[in-house]
């Protein structure tokens, strides 16, 4: 029914329904930036004068760790999977460093935390890639395992725990040049690496291929189990890095610190246009998705709405955006 509109209408192509749908489908990042702009305007209307460079810096600073976790979801979702262990892994890594920094030192702490994260990812990857366990079950199970061990570690280390290292506080919460969050120094290279990795490397292409059609990718010679193992290791290590930022940002080291970020990270990826069925999406949209969620939280808290309303709105937003994507990509 919309086909006739494109042929008879003299308006620019993007103004027609089909054009808009195509725009939404091909470049979801543009409507997302529009949504973000609307939210920024709403923030300004609610509290005139609040929107300035400092405010922007604070928003970006809060969004960065979430964006990293959402990157884990984006990559695993591209293959049709999901990584629900990111919360447990991130909390664990921040906590491990905080307990080790007093004794063996910061570098050892970081190495140990990332090594443990990599082992967790390796096990998840073996489960998903070789044993074909559903990623949801596998990563949920692994998060139980990680949480349990982290708790045991907590009991062991309760006397020697020495708090979040200054370097993390600086990296996670520091701001330089007046408004630029220091965490961008870590995040920007990471984001560029992820985007280039997904778009410009054979490995990235394999992730899309496996998610799009696992059988076709196997028949064309892709060893999906190797790809998946590497993927879950990358995802867990990224989650570990996000854990450093979380502990720095909040100045808290706890074994459940990042648990509440798991579902928002999935939400950010879904809002950013990555399909949970695999094969479609990218990291650009995810980053905007993380910013959108952060700005919404800030709007709601400046309106004085309780946590409950924030949760309800988050949920409604996920369904709405996911439904919109399903509509435009099906036709």
């Amino acid at each position: 029914m919309t086909d006739t509109a494109t042929t008879t209408d003299s308006r620019p192509r993007w103004l027609t329904t089909t054009g808009l749908r195509a725009l939404f489908r091909e470049r979801p990042i543009i409507p997302l930036i529009g949504l973000l702009a609307v939210l920024v305007v709403v923030s300004e209307l609610i509290r005139p004068g609040i929107v300035n460079l400092n405010w922007g810096g604070v928003m970006v600073r809060a969004a960065v760790p979430l964006a990293i976790l959402a990157g884990c979801q984006t990559m695993t979702m591209l293959t049709g999977g999901i990584d629900l262990s990111v919360g447990a892994v991130a909390s664990m890594s921040g906590f491990v460093v905080a307990t080790l920094v007093g004794g063996p030192g910061l570098a050892t702490g970081i190495l140990v935390a990332l090594a443990v994260a990599a082992i967790v990812g390796l096990i998840s990857g073996i489960g998903v890639g070789i044993f074909r366990v559903h990623p949801l079950i596998m990563t949920l199970g692994m998060s139980l395992v990680v949480l349990g061990f982290a708790n045991v570690w907590q009991i062991q280390m309760v006397q020697t725990g020495s708090g979040v290292p200054d370097q993390f506080r600086d990296l996670g919460a520091g701001i330089f040049l007046g408004f630029v969050p220091r965490s961008l120094l870590l995040f920007l290279p990471l984001a560029i690496l992820i985007i280039l990795g997904l778009n410009r490397t054979g490995y990235g292409r394999l992730l899309y291929a496996i998610g799009d059609n696992p059988i076709a990718s196997r028949l064309s010679g892709a060893r999906s189990w190797q790809v998946l193992i590497v993927l879950y290791v990358i995802s867990a290590v990224l989650a570990g890095v996000a854990g450093f930022l979380y502990s720095g940002l909040t100045n808290v080291a706890s074994v459940t610190l990042a648990d509440t970020a798991v579902l928002p990270s999935v939400a950010a990826a879904v809002i950013g246009g990555t399909s949970i069925m695999g094969g479609r999406g990218g990291y650009g949209g995810t980053m905007i998705g993380a910013l959108i969620l952060t700005v919404i939280s800030s709007i709601l808290s400046s309106l004085g709405y309780p946590e409950a309303v924030r949760q309800i709105l988050f949920g409604a937003l996920i369904i709405f955006v996911a439904a919109a994507y399903t509509r435009v990509t099906e036709t």
Partner: protein
């Protein structure tokens, strides 16, 4: 018969062995222990039944825990300081609310055509938020008769009321449904939605029905949570996660269309008894969490290995 119920029978065997082992580890474990076990597994057992129905219909409901929290706080806040008779109305009302919550989940899945897992993940936020709006902090109360319905034993010290209640409710609702056309459609859309559609099953309506049942059993789980603890807690417990684990252990295929609701119930009892045993053996409770995660992952791995071997002989 044995082939069809092989998994469940195997689980019952494991459970019996575990009970004997428990008795050996802790010679004082007796009727009181069994009663405590029955009471403590009641909410999770209902949650597992709820999850099993969603999974049989080729779905998954990540909002089970939140629906339990919501129904639990609604019942606890309405029953506080009210008459025993009023509580009967509350129970009926809360069960209806459970059906509505489930129907909303199912309708959203059908209407938006977004995968079940995304929709229920989002509804997890929504229902948990609603629960917090109803009751900001743990509180409320439970009617006396509801509490006495789950505690204690009946006929014989070895038959806990809680176990009987669970079996009667699940059997009374599930067995008639399973034997009806609707039950058949439920399994049909689970094993092959396209084939079910072509043979005249309304996939959309059956799916909404399945989620409504999931909501109903989540409401039962929430009510028993209020009844056994005496209060309502707005923050969802780990029930969603454990219900998925129990469903998988209970022999329901995550691919849909296979399994029943009694296997998951036995699995819940086994998981809980394992935890009890580890406490008796002075194992750190955190290591017990690790063990639960490993059992979950291990069983699924073995299960999928068996399937892989069957498919590629």
């Amino acid at each position: 018969m044995i082939r069809r119920h092989g998994w469940t029978l195997g689980l019952v065997g494991i459970l019996l062995v575990l009970l004997v082992v428990t008795r050996i580890i802790q010679p004082t474990y007796g009727a009181a222990g069994v009663q405590g076990l029955a009471v403590s597994v009641l909410p999770l057992a209902f949650a597992a039944v709820a999850q099993a129905i969603a999974v049989i219909a080729r779905g998954i409901d990540l909002s089970v825990g939140s629906m339990m929290a919501l129904t639990s706080v609604i019942s606890a806040s309405l029953m506080e300081d009210r008459s025993e008779g009023f509580a009967v109305l509350v129970v009926i009302g809360v069960l209806l609310i459970g059906c509505v919550l489930g129907a909303v989940n199912g309708s959203l899945i059908v209407v938006t055509r977004v995968p079940d897992i995304v929709v229920t993940l989002a509804m997890l936020f929504v229902w948990a938020g609603c629960a917090l709006l109803v009751l900001g902090t743990p509180g409320g109360g439970s009617a006396e008769w509801l509490r006495s319905l789950t505690g204690g034993s009946i006929l014989n010290a070895w038959i806990p009321k809680a176990a009987l209640l669970l079996l009667v409710i699940v059997a009374a609702i599930w067995i008639p449904i399973r034997r009806s056309r609707l039950g058949l459609s439920l399994y049909a859309i689970g094993s092959d939605p396209l084939a079910a559609y072509r043979s005249g099953v309304s996939v959309a309506r059956t799916k909404i029905f399945a989620y409504t049942l999931t909501g109903l059993f989540s409401a039962f789980a929430g009510l028993t949570l209020t009844a056994t603890t005496g209060i309502g807690t707005p923050v969802p417990g780990p029930y969603t996660l454990l219900s998925v684990a129990a469903v998988v252990l209970g022999g329901v295929s995550l691919a849909g269309g296979r399994g029943g609701v009694f296997g998951p119930i036995v699995a819940v009892v086994i998981l809980s008894l394992l935890r009890t045993d580890m406490t008796f053996l002075n194992v750190n409770t955190n290591l017990a969490t690790v063990a639960q995660g490993l059992i979950l992952v291990g069983v699924v791995m073995v299960g999928s290995l068996l399937q892989l071997r069957k498919r590629e002989p």
